[in-house]
Symmetry: C2
Subunit: 187 residues, 2 copies
């Protein structure tokens, strides 16, 4: 599976249970989210702007996705809604790895550039790194309708948290290949 | 890393946060455990009995571990203590896979035979299968002192739950290689 195929399998509506484990406090916290994942046509204006901003050759950019979430974390009954766009940019020398641009709806700062690695076991790893932070997320399908995610966050003084999401496809079915193909034909 | 090395890195005392996600109810539950993992000498009487019971050639059995846990799941403040012994038996045709005998302290039934796969990414997968149940657990080290585990449980009518454990080594240090070597020399 390549990252485009992974995103294609991810497209749809998901019910996600999330749990964060905080290491300093030995505390955990859970939340529930509705998540919508859509593939974005390559000529979407927002993408064109992103390519320019990051000096990316559009021919190297792979299919991007928009992830929209709406849910609540239990502690303090905190609402959490937002969306983010992930744009993979192929590494011309390695078909399984590349750059990953990440533009989040609420961030006022410049988009974050990370990287992705598509494993031989069909798991997708997303890595975001800065001088003070290292975040790694692993995503995989237990079945076409059950997606799993784990992530860890490391700061200068060590790992600070881990999180786990189990995501059930709503309606229990993947969109038919024909509707995905139709969306792609429009891009 | 092979499974013996994985178990060697796992030896020690861990504080584990566990979360179960139940799919039918869309509910989650957390717990906290102290876990002790010890490598067992190959001539331990319990192992010798297990080899006989399963008609295993002791020369094919790799180093076994005993895992002892003591903790509480939050719902109903349920205490959960027990121990289990895992005995990997090498597949002579594939160094990365094999059988896994599992003898649990509280089980009155015969020991369960599953299998293990050691991935190229140093993650260990344990699989237990019967006619009505398929359980798969994936274990890996985010660092020598942070171990992660995810598992899924599938019944005849589909996936019923997923769980996630993040485990911090108590004291924050691996036992020195010399003490492990000393233990091994005794086996």
């Amino acid at each position: 599976m390549d990252i485009t195929e992974f995103f294609r399998q991810s497209a749809g509506k998901w019910f996600s249970q999330r749990t964060n484990h905080y290491f300093a406090l030995n505390q955990s916290e859970s939340g529930k989210f509705n998540i919508v994942i859509e593939m974005i046509p390559n000529d979407d204006l927002l993408l064109v702007k992103l390519y320019e901003q990051h000096k990316i050759d559009p021919a190297q950019a792979l299919r991007a996705v928009r992830i929209t979430w709406d849910g609540t974390m239990e502690r303090g009954d905190r609402k959490d809604t937002g969306s983010t766009i992930l744009v993979p940019v192929a590494d011309p020398y390695n078909p399984h790895e590349g750059k990953l641009l990440c533009e989040t709806s609420y961030a006022e700062t410049a988009p974050v550039a990370g990287r992705y690695v598509m494993g031989g076991d069909d798991a997708l790893t997303l890595i975001t790194e800065s001088e003070t932070l290292y975040a790694e997320e692993r995503l995989w399908f237990a079945s076409p309708n059950l997606r799993m995610r784990t992530s860890t966050l490391k700061r200068l003084d060590g790992f600070s948290m881990a999180s786990f999401c189990s995501e059930i496809r709503m309606g229990g079915k993947q969109p038919p290949a024909s509707s995905v193909a139709a969306t792609e034909a429009n891009s």
